[in-house]
Symmetry: C2
Subunit: 339 residues, 2 copies
């Protein structure tokens, strides 16, 4: 998250908009909080150029909640949903969907440890929906193209939403845990085209029913007030920076610089197929124990933390989410070249 | 929430424990956050004197999530759960439970607008569990006694947990949205006696399965990091103050002063049966339009906000949660006497 957001968030905890109250104690059914929620929704719509058929919700939980809330709302027991299996998160989503109906895994890159994005797969016309993960944080792949299909498209964009320009209106449902590019942990942004709802025949608990959340304007129960406020601050920061197009240019520059460095430096090796490399998560190996130690020592010395890969795959991973300044990538690039 | 907590929470957003990092950006799988979570769990266990059979979880969502997560985990389709219907929240919980199995409403105070707590009801021995709401925020009733039964006891303690000494170990499951007495909106505290789990025969989504959360130590997915940190600060504050016994004394003094004032002042009338009055939410009517206007004007002048009753019942409501200092109640009492 951007540093400027931290300062504003801290200020709101002490004295929110000069009310003398903390954002942590204001009622959620007050004009004060309603203005926060409304502005966050409007900014999200504006930044993604959403049409009027799409609603923006801020819901409790993380993407893992959406893994089951999606099929619970959209997949009848006797229906089949199509899923792309491109990494740890997508395979977890598949597991949850199977509780509610049938799953057709139309393609998988598991054969090569999820180091590429499958191409040329077919989405059956009668699938209830097609689900995929746009960016795989752990494996470092990213899928920028939107599949051509008449089946409702559903995307887990937790880790690359708002990082590049795309036609968000082509999706029937997008969800994103806030903690990468939208805000802090504890809230999901869910974007829904309303016409896909109300077709499932199971009874839904109120908190799981997208329609009830839409009717209540994300205020079905006490929302995660502070987490939504942090989203608002982050969305404002993005707008002031020039919006999604502007951040995309920066994200391209950041990721190109890092991949170029890794390819030039002997002993360093990006693990992902060139055409599928993520701009958000750069995953690589170091094929030399001495170099590896020098790299880790240098990172520690310069206070660069969190370069270790995810516990499930090993190796190294550098995350370049929206808020990371290009200067940090330049510093890392210099560090690697000087090893 | 206590003012001291706001200052510490704001500081952690700028510079968490002198790391130079914000609590909003630290990884949840770091020793930094693990120490937060562990301390919060230990403090909760200590303050409630929980035995080793009880686990403390911090889960995404609010109590409304627990309304359905409880029956989803504990009630088979052909089983019956016993519920007490004592207010808006309890009746919502009943509605959700009916999605998963049968509900036997063993008693209700709906006949008198939920202004009392039913007594002398029977809990069938074969009920899967017995569920009740210990404090009804909207109607201003509170149930301090724990029913005698062999059936697993489940309580929604969202609005009075940690406000008085009780035998928390007698409950099979306790849940509480954090925003009243534990912290800020966006996290639930759930206390579970492990032996009640694993008996339901439906497939549970991972995020809904208490057993998976217990195994993962509340880290099944990215937890609501900041909300949990605010819980920790609030629990520490309570411990430093002397614990649950000490806050109970204050809560008794606060509520007795306010109820006494309302009874002494002509035109003011508490709505709840004397023996069932909540110490957390004092609900009353003003039977005189001129007095009512003077009361509202005086509140406004002195910056006392939020005295309006819940939109669903009208009247007036003053909330006296743990963090409210007795001085505020004394000021309100003086204000009412001087009208």
């Amino acid at each position: 998250m951007p540093k400027a957001v931290f300062n504003e968030a801290a200020e709101a905890i002490i004295n929110f908009r000069n009310t003398g109250l903390s954002i942590l104690e204001i009622g959620h059914r007050t004009p004060l909080f309603e203005s926060v929620l409304n502005e966050a929704v409007q900014l999200a719509k504006e930044l993604m150029h959403l049409d009027n058929d799409h609603e923006v919700l801020f819901l409790h939980g993380g993407a893992t909640t959406q893994f089951f809330q999606v099929p619970m709302n959209l997949l009848n027991e006797n229906q089949t949903a199509a899923y792309l299996d491109c990494g740890v998160w997508g395979s977890k989503a598949i597991k949850e969907a199977r509780i509610f109906g049938n799953v057709n895994v139309v393609a998988s890159s598991k054969d090569k440890n999820y180091t590429y994005i499958p191409r040329g797969f077919k989405i059956p016309e009668d699938a209830a929906y097609f689900h995929y993960t746009t960016n795989n944080t752990i494996e470092g792949t990213e899928m920028f193209h939107i599949p051509e299909t008449n089946v409702p498209l559903i995307a887990d964009m937790s880790s690359d939403i708002l990082s590049y320009v795309t036609d968000f209106n082509r999706f029937a449902l997008i969800y994103a845990g806030a903690q990468k590019n939208i805000g802090a942990a504890g809230v999901n942004m869910v974007i829904i085209r309303k016409d896909i709802l109300g077709k499932v025949n199971r009874k839904l608990p109120g908190m799981m029913d997208y329609r009830q959340h839409i009717e209540a304007g994300s205020m079905l129960n006490t929302p995660p007030v502070f987490a939504i406020y942090v989203c608002l601050l982050t969305l404002r920061w993005l707008k002031n920076l020039g919006g999604v197009g502007a951040i995309e240019k920066l994200n391209i520059a950041k990721s190109e610089l890092l991949y170029k460095t890794l390819e030039e430096k002997a002993g360093f090796e990006p693990t992902v197929a060139k055409e599928d490399r993520s701009r958000m998560n750069v995953v690589f190996l170091i094929n030399d124990a001495v170099l590896e130690k020098r790299f880790l020592d240098a990172c520690k010395e310069q206070g660069m933390i969190g370069v270790k890969g995810h516990r499930s795959v090993g190796g190294y991973r550098v995350s370049l989410y929206n808020a990371l300044p290009i200067e940090s990538v330049q510093a890392l690039s210099t560090l690697i070249h000087q090893l």
